[in-house]
């Protein structure tokens, strides 16, 4: 088992490098580099461009070097010193800007995942066991609508409803009095209260698809011979259901974290922007729009790494609950 985990972790290292290269290429993709954009903007504002200052900046970010060298500087800075470069826009080290925002992103993504599971699992089981009943149809239709509605539309609708009809503010993750306060028990409670709405919104699509996954998995298992064997032992239907088919249908379900998690991370981007949550995403969008590429690249890299970690966790969990994987 330990060997399996070890092997799995070693396997994800090349993944990490592939993704970091990818993120770096995105950083590099805009024509010219940040400094030309910067200079152009200063000129447009009618300011004098200080060539000497530009040169120092250029040197500092090694913008004159070949791309691979730049990549190497960038990635080695991240790995050895946690240095993600400097935000051009804010003139601040990126690592100082992203810490709390990334943490909140992780909180949002993981709580959404748990929410998704908590809802999808029982409903999936119910729908499979009561296939083609009114309840099954109800949840199926609800699921389809959940899948078809873009996250941001739900967010907008809730925001509209909250503002116009309830006069309540549903945006943000903290009440104003806590926003800049140091961490405390009360602040955590406040955060949890504010988390509910984004979690529901971000989780809708993945909940809907996980319900369908669970339902299909369980339907596949419900009529397998081992279920008949268990029934022939004299087990009651409920115990039988929980101990055998549900238990086995869980395996592919666990592996869905692998793809549901990136989906959640992805979905939270847009919801966070609409609801102006203090997570990584709105800042990333701003950075992308203003081509503040070190900042944007750091977010893209970290969000991708978050997904890879999710996949890793899902694989390890799967090995824990399924002996067939563990032993091969």
């Amino acid at each position: 088992m330990l060997y399996y985990i070890f092997r799995r972790i070693v396997w994800s290292i090349p993944f990490f490098f592939a993704i970091s290269l990818f993120a770096f290429l995105i950083i590099q993709a805009p024509p010219g580099d940040y400094l030309t954009t910067y200079a152009a903007r200063l000129e447009a504002q009618g300011q004098v461009v200080d060539q000497a200052r530009l040169e120092t900046l250029r040197e500092r970010f090694a913008l004159g070097e070949p791309i691979l060298v730049q990549y190497f500087n960038w990635i080695s800075g991240i790995i050895t010193r946690g240095d993600f470069g400097i935000s051009f826009e804010f003139q601040q080290p990126v690592s100082e800007m992203i810490g709390q925002r990334m943490a909140l992103s992780v909180v949002l993504a993981t709580s959404t995942l748990f929410f998704t599971w908590a809802i999808a699992l029982p409903i999936g089981i119910y729908s499979a066991v009561r296939q083609y009943t009114a309840g099954d149809y109800f949840f199926s239709i609800l699921g389809f609508i959940g899948l078809a509605t873009p996250n941001f539309l739900i967010a907008l609708a809730l925001m509209y409803y909250g503002t116009v009809h309830l006069g309540a503010d549903v945006t943000g993750l903290f009440s104003p009095e806590y926003a800049n306060a140091p961490w405390s028990g009360a602040k955590v409670v406040d955060l949890l209260k504010h988390l509910i709405i984004p979690v529901v919104i971000v989780g809708t699509a993945s909940t809907a698809s996980l319900i369908r996954v669970m339902r299909a998995n369980l339907l596949d298992e419900l009529f397998k011979p081992y279920v008949v064997t268990a029934r022939a032992k004299g087990l009651s239907e409920f115990r039988l259901l929980m101990k055998y088919p549900v238990r086995i249908a869980l395996n592919p379900f666990v592996s869905t974290i692998g793809w549901a998690f990136p989906q959640i991370v992805s979905g939270s981007t847009i919801v966070a922007v609409v609801l102006s949550l203090p997570t990584a995403d709105p800042l990333m969008l701003d950075a992308l729009l203003s081509q503040d590429m070190y900042l944007a690249g750091a977010f893209i890299l970290l969000l991708s790494v978050l997904s890879i970690v999710g996949m890793l966790v899902s694989d390890i969990l799967l090995a824990l609950i399924d002996p067939r994987i563990r032993y091969t």
Binding site: I19, L147, T149, N151, Y160, V164, P262, S266, L288
Partner: protein, 382 residues
């Protein structure tokens, strides 16, 4: 109970019918029984007709602004009215509305104007335009009887542009981006997935790893990153294609995985081996023996991939990194609804969102129905 593999209807003539029914017909028969999917097929079909002949369905030029009609609320079409003589007359019309300001609060609102109506008719004459950029036409489906009058079925936006016409125009871009994007993905997916599935070996291993990688990264940040890299000065058409390309660069993976899986499974089927032993060349094995069985599955996957593309485009444009004005897509339209002030004032800006939901829902049902029907011998599915 052992499953009966052969079709055994009771009527011998029906038996003959089923026996000589081709796969395509069996699939169609099975698909037809899936009523929701059938209805969805009609809905999707209708949307594509609108998308193709968008100009014909627009009563007004979608970019035509009107300073007097800013945030004009939607109007209902009424079929009849009671005229001055007290007689009920059949004449489709909308009630005219006028912008007024509350004297105290200065709040703007629209109030109906008594006895002023905009009469509507089918196929009114308009300025000549080119349908699908080809055929010159001078009529639209419906519009005001008196040229120059305006009406707003779905309201107007902050520049007084007709939302109905804009949504119709957006249908073209949103629906086509799904199709074009999936088309590009399909080409990539077929080539890479097919090659991986058919040849196996290192190519398979390498492409599987890449697919795995791409499926494990969150798509929206990557899409955002790539579109942010596009120069803002691109002309609308190039931007349209670049955005589609970006969407399909990520989108091909799912299709490639499906194609590869099916290819792998089918490559070892006895009937494929039999075809090879019959003397069929690799090309014939693929196209004569394998493709026909793959096509239905591919169609099903495609119809499930289109809504993903549509949603992606909508999201990107909504965030301002996808298509940009003057292009009109549902996402671009929804961007107008981004701030709470506009939607609190003009709820109808949500309407494009309703269309997104309906189309995506219909495409999902359609894809599901196709997937169930794709294997006419399977015992599962409705």
């Amino acid at each position: 109970m052992e499953l009966q593999h052969t079709a055994t209807p009771s009527d011998p003539r029906a038996a003959d019918d089923v026996a000589e029914a081709s796969q395509a017909r069996l699939i169609w028969e099975k698909f037809r029984k899936h009523r929701v999917a059938l209805v969805s097929l009609y809905i999707v079909g209708a949307f594509y007709v609108v998308a193709l002949f968008a100009e014909f369905f627009q009563p007004f030029d979608p970019n035509l602004t009107s300073r007097t009609d800013v945030y004009h609320p939607p109007q209902m079409i009424r079929l009849t009215y009671v005229d001055d003589m007290g007689k009920r007359v059949f004449a489709p019309h909308v009630q005219k509305q006028k912008l007024t300001r509350d004297k105290l609060t200065l709040k703007a609102s629209y109030a109906p104007v008594e006895n002023e109506r905009v009469f509507l008719r089918l196929f009114p004459k308009v300025e000549t335009y080119k349908l699908v950029n080809l055929i010159p036409v001078n009529r639209t489906l419906f519009g005001p009887v008196n040229q120059g009058e305006r009406f707003y079925l779905f309201g107007s936006d902050r520049l007084g542009r007709d939302m109905f016409s804009r949504i119709v125009a957006g249908t073209r871009i949103s629906m086509s981006i799904g199709l074009v994007g999936v088309g590009m993905s399909l080409v990539l997916g077929l080539i890479i997935g097919g090659a991986a599935g058919y040849f196996g070996g290192w190519f398979d291993t390498a492409s599987s790893r890449v697919i795995e990688l791409m499926l494990s990264i969150p798509t929206i940040p990557i899409w955002l990153g790539l579109s942010a890299a596009l120069p803002p000065s691109l002309d609308p058409l190039t931007r349209y294609f670049m955005i589609t390309l970006i969407l399909s660069l990520i989108g091909w993976t799912e299709l490639a995985r499906v194609v590869r899986g099916r290819f792998m499974a089918m490559r070892s089927e006895d009937f494929v081996t039999a075809g090879r032993l019959d003397g069929a060349s690799p090309r014939r094995v693929i196209f004569r023996h394998m493709m026909p069985s793959l096509v239905s599955h591919i169609i099903a996957s495609v119809s499930l991939a289109i809504p993903v593309m549509i949603l992606a485009e909508t999201s990107l444009s909504f965030l301002g990194l996808g298509l940009m004005p003057p292009s009109i897509s549902w996402g671009v339209l929804l961007k107008e609804a981004q701030n709470i002030r506009s939607i609190a004032q003009a709820e109808w800006l949500f309407i494009p969102g309703g269309f997104v939901v309906v189309v995506v829902l219909a495409l999902n049902f359609l894809g599901d129905g196709l997937r169930d029907a794709a294997d006419p011998y399977s015992q599962h599915g409705a």
